[in-house]
């Protein structure tokens, strides 16, 4: 039995430490990992738990992130609880295996500390890696601070291992801003945490030899489509189970999570919709805008996959102009997040104006003043009844203003 690791009612943890504590409390059976900045401390912390007897599980330090996820897949198919962590280039190296993990319906939990993708090489936080995973068939949660990185990691196991879901889950947190900033975190007690997560009940267990299983078969045009459709359905259907898990988590922690979070949206005419640490900055900016008489609000996406189209539409129902903030190089299109929100609002009755702001690449700061400018532009759009700027603009970029695409609507 593992040595008891004492946790206080209130701890001062950074996002990485919070995530590693959730792995410890969840009594993970196998953690296979390869370190990469800025998620390295998650792996190191876990290594310290192993070295001091705080965990009973196996710790497999492999030779690359591709091997890390491959070992997680082998371990998960062998019927126990599995978790790992990565960032950026490591995430990119894992991509092949991310699709294989979800295709085999394995409940692996992956902590992703978001960081930009090279080139140019950059270790700071943006969301390029997160969007790279958006079609991989994983559930994607967004944590905006250390507390949420802890809470959502515990919820992730419970969602992934639910037999109606059986899909892997990522929890995203912003590199350095969340991962390396120590904050107050209120953890569950060890007993409450493991009681909440529960015991894993394996499905198609490779170590149950009374019922041999084949993992990773080949399917061509006769069956591949049906498998992928079934997988997509499981992902779409997981929304209600995520809601149930969040409701259960509220009972044990008092903290409430929704797949779409709304702040000051009751009467909002304009809003910023975002992900990650920028959400908290946008909430401050919105409050300041309200002092200027602008009815500003903020919407945040807690669950990027499966994407909550209906809940986004509901949250933005009364909004006239919306700024969708993408912290990733869009690569010759509107931002990935913009496209989701625009798709949701295209099918709404109100059909509000939807604009796209590219910001914060490679860890570039976004200030309250930048966000207030965005709100002011939304107000101008709302008053004019059309998009007064380019649809896509780059925020806080050196040099002349950069924007793309004009609206046809007047």
């Amino acid at each position: 039995m593992a040595v008891e690791f004492e946790v206080n009612e209130r701890e001062v943890w950074d996002g990485n430490y919070a995530a590693s504590q959730a792995m410890r409390q969840a009594d993970v059976d196998v953690m296979a990992a390869y370190p990469i900045t800025p998620s390295t401390p998650i792996v190191e912390n876990y290594g310290a738990y192993v070295a001091n007897g705080y965990v009973d599980g196996e710790f497999v330090m492999v030779e690359s992130e591709h091997a890390a996820m491959s070992a997680c897949i082998g371990a998960s198919a062998a019927g126990g609880r599995v978790a790992t962590a990565t960032s950026s280039q490591g995430f990119a190296l894992m991509v092949e295996t991310l699709y294989q993990a979800s295709g085999m319906r394995l409940p692996i939990v992956l902590n992703v500390v978001n960081r930009a993708l090279a080139s140019p090489l950059n270790v700071r936080g943006d969301h390029a890696d997160m969007y790279l995973g958006r079609d991989s068939g994983w559930i994607q949660f967004g944590a905006f601070n250390a507390q949420e990185a802890y809470d959502l990691a515990l919820c992730a196991f419970k969602v992934a291992e639910n037999h109606a879901v059986r899909l892997p889950v990522m929890i995203h947190q912003d590199g350095f801003i969340t991962s390396h900033t120590a904050q107050n975190v209120y953890p569950l007690s060890n007993e409450d945490a493991i009681k909440f997560v529960g015991e894993i009940v394996p499905v198609d267990d490779m170590l149950d030899f009374s019922r041999p299983v084949t993992y990773g078969a080949q399917t061509e045009e006769d069956w591949h489509f049906e498998h992928k459709a079934k997988q997509h359905k499981a992902l779409m259907d997981s929304m209600s189970i995520i809601d149930d898990v969040f409701a259960e988590f509220k009972k044990v922690s008092g903290r409430e999570y929704k797949r779409v979070e709304s702040y000051d949206m009751e009467d909002a005419e304009v809003c910023v919709i975002g992900l990650g640490t920028t959400v908290e900055s946008a909430r401050v900016a919105a409050k300041e805008m309200r002092k200027e008489g602008v009815k500003a609000g903020v919407v945040a996406i807690r669950c990027f996959r499966p994407f909550p189209y209906e809940e986004v539409r509901e949250a933005l129902r009364n909004c006239k102009s919306i700024a969708v903030t993408d912290r990733s190089s869009p690569g010759g299109a509107m931002g990935a997040f913009y496209n989701e929100v625009a798709a949701a609002m295209m099918t709404s009755q109100s059909r509000p104006l939807v604009t796209n702001y590219i910001y914060g690449l490679g860890g570039r700061d976004i200030s309250i003043e930048n966000l207030k400018t965005i709100f002011r532009e939304q107000k101008a759009n709302a008053d004019a009844g059309y998009i007064t700027t380019d649809i896509q603009q780059f925020t806080n970029l050196r040099g002349p203003k950069l924007g793309f695409c004009k609206t046809e609507r007047n």
Binding site: E58, V62, A67, A71, A75, A77, M206, G216
Partner: protein
């Protein structure tokens, strides 16, 4: 089932059906002989991982499977990582008491072709060997990327024609020497590595059993003649393998703990390499007068390698 209890090949080949015959490997492919031998030589539970390759695409096409045991395939390169994860999970669950039958012995085995072993999966294999997981890796070495239609690999011998190292008016086929994977694996400090051939089925079964019974990461390279790409008749697979072992193109030996080499088969009459080359279409261009030097080079390499193996055996290094 102990090897000493096996009386004849018929009994050995029919006593266990964990690898079902209804696969889609080419008629005459040696892969299935090797895999059946592995699965026949133990009664323990087996967890098997396969890299992408001929074996994998021919044995698990939904809704069918040839594997009457736990089996997993992820990608081209990562069976060693998959088996690492499964082996670690077995340890963790045994410790925590969450296995259905915690006492039943389990063996972990990974299969790869030479493409995934020598080339694309080399790093994953090296990592798993270094970490010391308790598993056996078996390379089904048919000396080319057969599953994708016969391209060169770093296991393709000098002079062989492949679709990406072709013989032509300006080329005699592959120019580079075959990578010495057995020595590389022995250099990892593996407790048991061997090179075996399916024509010598008793020695092969014995080697497999040794590997399965040895704790730690073991590696076995097996020659798996490929009638489709080597260009010979499917009925001649074992005959070609006999030529491979009797010309010493494919010597059989084991290395224990990286420094104890034992030769496992000494041909009574060592044949000239022409006998082996001449039996296969992939080498037929070598018999043109302008390519005589290539055959001489191949023979010299064989002689040198055989001398080296004998010196190592004698010196116990």
């Amino acid at each position: 089932m102990a090897i000493t209890s096996i009386k004849n090949l018929k009994e050995f080949s029919t006593n266990n059906d964990r690898f079902e015959g209804a696969h889609t490997l080419c008629p005459g492919c040696a892969h299935s002989m090797i895999v059946r031998e592995l699965m026949n030589c133990t009664d323990d539970n087996l967890v098997i991982a396969s890299n992408t390759g001929c074996l994998e695409v021919s044995t698990a096409v939904y809704p069918f499977t040839s594997w009457d045991t736990s089996w997993i395939h992820i990608g081209f390169e990562n069976a060693p990582s998959a088996i690492s994860g499964a082996e670690a999970m077995h340890k963790a669950r045994k410790k925590k008491g969450t296995l259905k039958d915690g006492e039943a012995p389990v063996k972990f085995v990974a299969f790869g072709g030479d493409g995934s072993t020598y080339d694309i999966g080399f790093q994953w294999l090296s990592g798993a060997m270094e970490r010391g997981h308790d598993f056996t890796y078996i390379c089904l070495d048919n000396e080319n990327y057969a599953n994708t239609g016969g391209q060169r690999s770093s296991a393709t011998p000098i002079g062989a024609h492949t679709s990406t190292a072709q013989a032509g008016t300006h080329s005699y086929g592959k120019k580079q020497k075959k990578k010495d994977i057995v020595s590389i694996m022995a250099a990892h400090g593996a407790p048991y590595v061997a090179q075996l051939a399916p024509n010598k089925w008793k020695a092969m079964a014995k080697g497999f059993q040794k590997a399965l019974e040895t704790e730690g990461p073991c590696f076995i390279n097996t020659v798996s003649p490929c009638c489709t790409e080597w260009k010979f008749e499917p009925k001649d697979t074992i005959g070609i393998t006999d030529l491979a072992t009797d010309t010493l193109m494919f010597p059989m030996y084991e290395i224990i703990d990286g420094h104890e080499l034992n030769i496992l088969y000494r041909p009574k009459n060592i044949l000239k390499v022409e006998d082996y080359l001449g039996a296969q279409g992939r080498y037929k261009h070598l018999f043109k007068p302008e390519n005589k030097h290539v055959i001489e080079l191949i023979q010299k390499n064989i002689d040198d390698d055989w001398a080296m193996l004998q010196r190592r055996e004698e010196a116990r290094v």
